[in-house]
C-alpha cells in the first residue's frame, strides 16, 4: 500500500465517526425529505406513491398556508426591526466604559439562557386574561379597556404578543453581537473625527453605523432565519390558535405531519419553507454585504 493510500485511510479513521452520524441522522433525512415532498406518503406501513406536483398544487390553494405566510412575515418584520433597534441602542450605551456595564450586559443576556418552555409559561401567565400580571396592572392603573384584552386569545393581538416574547428573549443575544462589532472599530477614527469637530450624531452616522455593517448582516440573517423557522414560541404560547390564526410554517408542518399523519404533504410544505429561507437569506446577504465597507 502506498503512503498516499495509508494517509487517506488514516484520514478516514478520524473523519468516519462524525461523518457517519452526520450523514445518517442529518444529511440523509434532508435529502430524502426532498423526495418525499413529491409523494402522497401517509406514514407507517403505507408505501409512498409518487404524485408529482400534487402536493404543491394543493399547497397553493391551502388557506392555512396564507395565514402562515402572513404570520411569518409579521414576525420577521416586527422582530427584526424592534429587536435590532433595541439591541443597537443597548450596545452603544454599554460599549462606553461606564460603571456597571458588565452587570447590565449580563442581565440582558439572561433570557437567552432559559428554555423556551420556561419562558413560554412565564409569559402565558403574564398575558393571561383572569389573574395575569398585565391584567392586574392595567386594572389598578385604571386602563380597563387594556386590562380586558386577551393578549394570547384574541387573534388581533396574539401574533404581536408572540413577537414581544421573542424580542424579550433574544435582544440580549443581538446586543452581544453588536458590542463585539463595536469593539472592532478603531478608536483613532473617533479621535480624528473629534479633531475635525464632529458631534456625537455625526460620529454615529458616519463611523459607527457604516463600520458596524458586518454585525448588522449577522444579526439580520440570524433573526430572519430564526423568525422563518420559528416553532417553539408559537407552539408553547398559542399552539397556532385561536382558530389557526397564529399558525406559522413551523407549527403547520408539525400539525400536518404528526397530527394529520400526512407526511408527504408536510414534507412539501417544509420544502417550500426551505426554498424560501435559502432565497431570502441569499438576497439579504447579497444586499447587506454590498453595504459593508473596507477600512
Amino acid at each position: 500500500m502506498s503512503e498516499k493510500k495509508r494517509e487517506l485511510l488514516r484520514f478516514m479513521m478520524f473523519v468516519l465517526p462524525a461523518m457517519g452520524i452526520y450523514s445518517l441522522f442529518y444529511a440523509y433525512p434532508i435529502l430524502s425529505g426532498f423526495y418525499y415532498s413529491f409523494t402522497n406518503w401517509n406514514g407507517f406501513g403505507d408505501t409512498a406513491l409518487f404524485n408529482g406536483l400534487d402536493n404543491f398544487i394543493e399547497l397553493v390553494h391551502d388557506e392555512l398556508i396564507l395565514i402562515a405566510i402572513k404570520n411569518n412575515i409579521i414576525l420577521s418584520v416586527v422582530i427584526i426591526i424592534v429587536q435590532n433597534a433595541l439591541a443597537l441602542i443597548f450596545a452603544i450605551l454599554l460599549n462606553k466604559k461606564m460603571k456597571g456595564h458588565t452587570i447590565f450586559r449580563a442581565v440582558f443576556f439572561i433570557p437567552v439562557l432559559l428554555s423556551t418552555a420556561v419562558i413560554g409559561y412565564i409569559w402565558e401567565y403574564i398575558f393571561s386574561p383572569l389573574q395575569g400580571v398585565l391584567h392586574v396592572i392595567f386594572n389598578s392603573l385604571g386602563f380597563t379597556t387594556l386590562a380586558e384584552i386577551n393578549w394570547l386569545g384574541d387573534p388581533t393581538y396574539a401574533i404581536y404578543s408572540i413577537c414581544a416574547v421573542v424580542i424579550w428573549q433574544f435582544t440580549g443575544y443581538s446586543m452581544v453581537i453588536y458590542i463585539a462589532g463595536l469593539q472592532t472599530i478603531p478608536k483613532d477614527l473617533y479621535e480624528a473625527a473629534e479633531i475635525d469637530g464632529a458631534g456625537a450624531w455625526h460620529k454615529l452616522k458616519q463611523i459607527t453605523i457604516p463600520l458596524l455593517a458586518p454585525a448588522f448582516t449577522i444579526n439580520m440573517m440570524i433573526s430572519m432565519i430564526g423568525c422563518l423557522k420559528m416553532f417553539d414560541q408559537v407552539y408553547l404560547l398559542t399552539q397556532g390558535g385561536p382558530a389557526h390564526q397564529t399558525e406559522v410554517f413551523g407549527t403547520l408542518i408539525y400539525g400536518i405531519a404528526f397530527k394529520s399523519q400526512r407526511l408527504g404533504y408536510g414534507a412539501a410544505i417544509a420544502m417550500v419553507l426551505t426554498i424560501a429561507i435559502v432565497l431570502i437569506s441569499t438576497i439579504q446577504y447579497y444586499f447587506m454585504r454590498k453595504r459593508e465597507v473596507e477600512y
Binding site: 498516499k4 494517509e7 487517506l8 488514516r10 484520514f11 478520524f14 473523519v15 462524525a18 461523518m19 452520524i21 452526520y22 445518517l24 441522522f25 442529518y26 444529511a27 440523509y28 433525512p29 434532508i30 435529502l31 425529505g33 415532498s37 450605551l93 462606553k96 447590565f104 449580563a106 440582558f108 443576556f109 439572561i110 439562557l113 432559559l114 428554555s115 423556551t116 418552555a117 420556561v118 409559561y121 401567565y125 403574564i126 389573574q131 392586574v136 396592572i137 424579550w168 440580549g172 443575544y173 452581544v176 463585539a180 449577522i218 423557522k229 417553539d232 408553547l236 408542518i253 405531519a257 404528526f258 407526511l263 408536510g266 414534507a267 417544509a270 419553507l273 426551505t274 429561507i277 435559502v278
Partner: protein
C-alpha cells in the same frame, strides 16, 4: 460641560435600568409566585409572598417527576456533548491537518453545508427512520440526533482554531516519530482548549433547554426531559401556577448558577458561532 456629562450619564442609566427591569421582572414574577401558597396566590396574585411557602418546590419535585426528568436531561446532555466533542474534534483535526489528503476540503464543505441546510425538511423522514431503526423513544436515538445536529457548527469552530496553530508543529512532531494519534491527543487537541470550552457550552445550553426534539422523538413519560416534563406538568396542573413556577425555577436554576460563575465563557460560547463566522 461637566454638568452635561453628568446629565447624559444620568439619562443613560435611566434607560438601561428601565430596560434591565423589563428583562428581569418576568423572572422575579416567576420566583415570587413560586413561593406562595395557592390560596394566597388566588387572593392576591401580585402581592408579596407572605408567609413563604417553600412546600411548592417539594410538591412540584414529586408531582412533576422532576428527578426522573433531570436524570434524563443529564444523560442526554452529557452523552451528546461527549459524542459531539469526541467525533467533532477528530473530524475537524483531520480536515485541518491532513495536508496530503485531497478530499479534505470537500469533507469540510459537506459538514459546513449542514449550517445552511434547514433541518425541517429532514424532520419527517428522520421521524420515520428512527422508528424503523428501533431508535424512536430511546435516549441513544436522541443522543445521535443531537450529535448530528451539533456537528456542523462544532466542526466549523474546531477547524478555525486548528488552522490558527502553525503547521511546523506537526512537521517537527512527525520527524520525531509521532503518529497522527499522538499528535492529536498529546499536542494539538490540548492547544485548542478554548474551542472545546466554546463548543461544550454552545451545545450544552441548546440541548439542556431543547424541547422540540424530545417532543417529536419520544413518547414515554419515562423519557421526558426537564423542558418537556414541564409542558406535561402544565397539562395536569394548569391552574396551580405557584407549583408550576416552582418547577420552572428549578429547571432554570442549574443554567443560571452556571452563568453566575462562567458568565464570560457562556456569553462568548453562545455567540461564538455568529461572531467568528
Amino acid at each position: 460641560m461637566k454638568l452635561r456629562a453628568i446629565r447624559n450619564h444620568f439619562s443613560m442609566y435611566v434607560v438601561l435600568i428601565l430596560a434591565a427591569l423589563c428583562i428581569i421582572s418576568p423572572l422575579c414574577i416567576m420566583v415570587f409566585t413560586s413561593v406562595k401558597s395557592n390560596a394566597d396566590y388566588i387572593k392576591d396574585p401580585l402581592g408579596l409572598p407572605n408567609p413563604l411557602f417553600i412546600k411548592n418546590y417539594a410538591l412540584a419535585w414529586v408531582n412533576g417527576g422532576l428527578l426522573q426528568n433531570a436524570m434524563n436531561s443529564l444523560i442526554l446532555t452529557g452523552g451528546s456533548i461527549l459524542a459531539i466533542i469526541g467525533t467533532g474534534a477528530l473530524a475537524a483535526f483531520a480536515v485541518a491537518r491532513f495536508r496530503m489528503v485531497k478530499i479534505a476540503p470537500i469533507v469540510f464543505a459537506v459538514f459546513v453545508a449542514g449550517l445552511i441546510l434547514p433541518g425541517q425538511v429532514g424532520l419527517i423522514p428522520l421521524f420515520m427512520q428512527m422508528q424503523e431503526m428501533g431508535l424512536y423513544n430511546t435516549q441513544i436515538g436522541l443522543i445521535l440526533i443531537y450529535t448530528a445536529q451539533g456537528l456542523p457548527i462544532t466542526i466549523f469552530i474546531f477547524t478555525k482554531f486548528y488552522n490558527s496553530i502553525p503547521y511546523e508543529i506537526d512537521e517537527s512532531a512527525k520527524i520525531d516519530g509521532a503518529s497522527m494519534w499522538t499528535l492529536f491527543f498529546k499536542i494539538i487537541f490540548p492547544l485548542v482548549l478554548p474551542a472545546t470550552v466554546t463548543n461544550i457550552i454552545f451545545n450544552m445550553i441548546g440541548i439542556w433547554n431543547d424541547f422540540f426534539n424530545p417532543l417529536i422523538f419520544t413518547s414515554d413519560a419515562s423519557h421526558r426531559t426537564l423542558p418537556l416534563g414541564l409542558v406535561a406538568f402544565k397539562g395536569q396542573f394548569s391552574t396551580d401556577w405557584p407549583q408550576l413556577f416552582a418547577a420552572s425555577t428549578m429547571i432554570a436554576l442549574p443554567i443560571l448558577m452556571l452563568y453566575i460563575f462562567l458568565q464570560r465563557f457562556m456569553i462568548d460560547g453562545l455567540t461564538a458561532g455568529a461572531i467568528k463566522g
